[in-house]
Symmetry: C2
């Protein structure tokens, strides 16, 4: 690492809003090296001012375009906006700044906007760990709103809600069975629902379906008096984007100083704690098991046992 | 579960090649219920005859079409072929048989072919756990070759190699920087390289790049005397598909009874053991931590500590 700028120095520059330092710190977080942890710990303790907005939706829902328009609208209120995009199917994953510029060209020249794509390497249970560290880094760099954009598949869609202060779920028109699947958990966790591509004729049907489904479940957000809005947006006409920005700021204001806001912050912290503990646990296990698996693997290969019973034996031996 | 067929009965039907029973058992495995584990354990002990072929490639590499053509070619040799597709961006994920028929229509009417898409729910480190259980189920049902198809992102691409007897890596033309990223690990683990869409003019460039890169690294497979082939395929013309089928069968024959084959089977078992142990470990942790996180989460929310140190404290308390 000869010649590398110390992370502590990057942090000081980052606090002053140096986007180059932000980018380099995020790269260190993304590399997920244990060496980076002390500085990430320091950054966490200094953070806590940003409002985290999770935006999730099925592949093809037009999330990225919507986020781009949303960021422009939020910027108009003066707030600095950071975006962390976690998308395994994004061809731009890997974190290059250039790629991010390609991804959202309309925002490339605004210094009050910082956008970063992250691969899903180093995941535990779906959501990239580095994304939450990246959100902290943007937080201390003065980005008042940090959007975490995930493709709504697997566990990401549920985890994003646990990690965010405001959760936005985007559904494209014409989902049918896919929309049904939303019932599984996504429907309840959204603070704001969006039906995208509402210039399309079939978006009306999707809105009606979604409204009917929403009336049958009790959204978690509604318990605290927040009325979960259902907003139609169109990347083509720009319709609904301002309404979405207002809904996000409205939700921030509504939960900010309230008991619900405090409960939410606690849930976010509990989630972060558990995910980090899982990481440390697996790391500890990984170090402990070196050498001890060989005999059990031999028995498994010979089918003198099955994965579940032999794995239970392995865990028991290491952590009796 | 009133009226549900007992899993043991499904297993007996499955061994007789009943595809309905195969589908239902896979659904039980995919649901990842602890109740299903005894039967999955039994299935594992009975399995061990199928040759597992991992096929991975970037989104847009044309994997699915290639797999469809490959399956037809392999079928022509008389072997029953199972396919487990793990693709987070697939709109057909979720496991419905109908959806699978839509996905690979040319294969819908062949009873010697069983195709199943799986979501990436319940992942640990990327690859769906249920996929390996599904491969066992197809194994005991007499499918001599089981293809596990994953989109090459995140950890899947490396894990697929650890879980398979033969690993095929598919690269589309014109990747450029993406191809560079292959160097990170994928290049070395492939037993067979494919450049897809070789009807396109830029595929020649990709082949040359890949050949140059291959000459610089030492593929793991080459250590045992296997010459890693680089095959150009075209879904349009069908070119290269037969060659790919032959390469897979050739690799199976070359490693079958050899010391390398035995070492590979042991690596596959060790991987399976570790992944299952991680699952059990996290489950045990998840049960233990109930109630104990609240106080630490409160401190984390108040930023009286950071995720890493408080998580270490949590792990220490539960597993001193």
């Amino acid at each position: 690492m000869m010649g590398a700028v110390p992370s502590s120095q990057l942090l000081e520059r980052c606090v002053c809003g140096d986007t180059g330092a932000v980018a380099r710190l995020i790269s260190r977080a993304e590399a997920d090296a244990e060496e980076a942890r002390p500085i990430l710990a320091e950054i966490y303790r200094r953070a806590g001012n940003a409002h985290l907005v999770g935006i999730t939706g099925a592949p093809g829902s037009g999330k990225s375009t919507l986020v781009e328009q949303l960021v422009q609208r939020l910027r108009a209120t003066g707030v600095k906006v950071g975006v962390v995009a976690i998308d395994p199917s994004s061809p731009y994953s890997g974190g290059a700044l250039l790629a991010d510029r390609i991804r959202m060209p309309a925002l490339a020249d605004d210094p009050g906007v910082f956008i970063r794509s992250m691969a899903t390497r180093g995941v535990i249970g779906g959501m990239a760990r580095g994304a939450l560290d990246a959100a902290d880094i943007l937080d201390v760099a003065g980005y008042g709103i940090v959007i975490i954009e995930t493709v709504g598949v697997g566990q990401d869609e549920v985890e994003i809600a646990k990690a965010s202060h405001t959760t936005v779920v985007v559904s494209p028109p014409g989902l049918g069975d896919e929309l049904q699947a939303l019932k599984a958990g996504l429907l309840e966790v959204a603070d704001i629902h969006v039906v995208s591509k509402c210039d399309r004729a079939d978006s009306r049907r999707t809105r009606i379906d979604l409204e009917r489904m929403l009336s049958r479940v009790a959204p978690q957000a509604a318990r605290s008096g927040w009325v979960v809005p259902l907003i139609g947006t169109s990347a083509l006409t720009g319709e609904g984007v301002e309404q979405l920005a207002e809904a996000i700021l409205g939700h921030r204001a509504a939960t900010g100083e309230s008991a619900e806001g405090e409960a939410r912050a606690l849930r976010v912290a509990a989630f972060r704690l558990e995910k980090t503990a899982e990481l440390l646990l697996l790391e500890r296990f990984s170090r402990a098991k070196l050498g001890t698996t060989a005999e059990l693997a031999k028995r498994l290969a010979a089918r003198q046992g099955d994965p579940y019973s032999l794995a239970a034996e392995l865990v028991q031996r290491l952590l009796p």
